[in-house]
Amino acid sequence: MTFVDPARMPAIGLGRKLNPAMDVNKSAFEGEDLALYDLFVHHLRTGRSVIDGITFTGCRVEGPAVMLVLDGTTFDATNFGESKGDMGNIVLRPVGNMAIGAIPVRNCTFVGCEFFALGFTGNEAILSQILAIPTSA
């Protein structure tokens, strides 16, 4: 067990200190930060193969991971992360009908979140929306 003084946590893009989620077994996260991989592994261990029906508000969601965006997932006022000036850099198109290795996310809501080191895949409609996000670089 180690103790990290919260005041010494690094600042993140959301204008606050990093606040790692201590409990991933819940359906709503607010102002907490977590790795998508850790959340998915928790779901797998509890018999769920999809991250489904979770609300994230003001959260930082980290990779490395590729999110498979499925039906019912929405993003509002969310920063998709550093794209190096080209949103194509965070978009991956599946070659077949599945996306092995990607983490499926269905019916989830992201509000005021930021992503770090995440790529995105899914159907062409959602990928087109991500590609249309303006970049600042």
Binding site: I90, R93, G101
Partner: protein
């Protein structure tokens, strides 16, 4: 190919080890451990290992897969692959100068540019 009944657990020294044999390797934990040790995922050799996702890897040109089982593709090996929409790939795990021999992959996708993906699929497709 490893016997899943005799494969060893995840090594404690993931971050500094360069040779892995007959062990489980969760790639996300591996990259985290290497990052923490101040290194890069480069120059590793994996022999008869089980390589776990979920993750998407970006193999460099010098990375080799020999006699590996790339996992369940649900009847279509194209399901393993993702095409990059830009010149960079964010969210994937780069694999540089590494060798996988006789390994089994579970939940690991592969990403690259069009030429890389097409070439890899052609390599895996049985010749008529």
């Amino acid at each position: 190919m490893p016997d899943l009944n005799t494969i060893g657990p995840v090594p404690d020294d993931l971050g500094v080890r360069t040779h892995f044999e007959k062990v489980r390797v969760p790639l996300v934990h591996l990259i985290e451990a290497i990052d923490a040790a101040g290194g890069t995922l480069r120059g590793r050799r994996f022999v008869d290992c089980v390589i776990h996702g979920p993750c998407v890897v970006i193999p460099g040109a010098e990375t080799r897969f020999e006699h590996c089982n790339l996992g369940d593709v649900a009847g279509d090996l194209r399901n393993l692959f993702l095409r990059a929409a830009g010149p960079l790939i964010i969210g994937g795990i780069p694999l540089h100068d590494s060798v996988f021999e006789g390994c089994i992959f579970m939940g690991v996708g592969i990403a690259g540019d069009d030429a890389f993906v097409d070439r890899f699929i052609e390599t895996l497709t049985p010749k008529a």
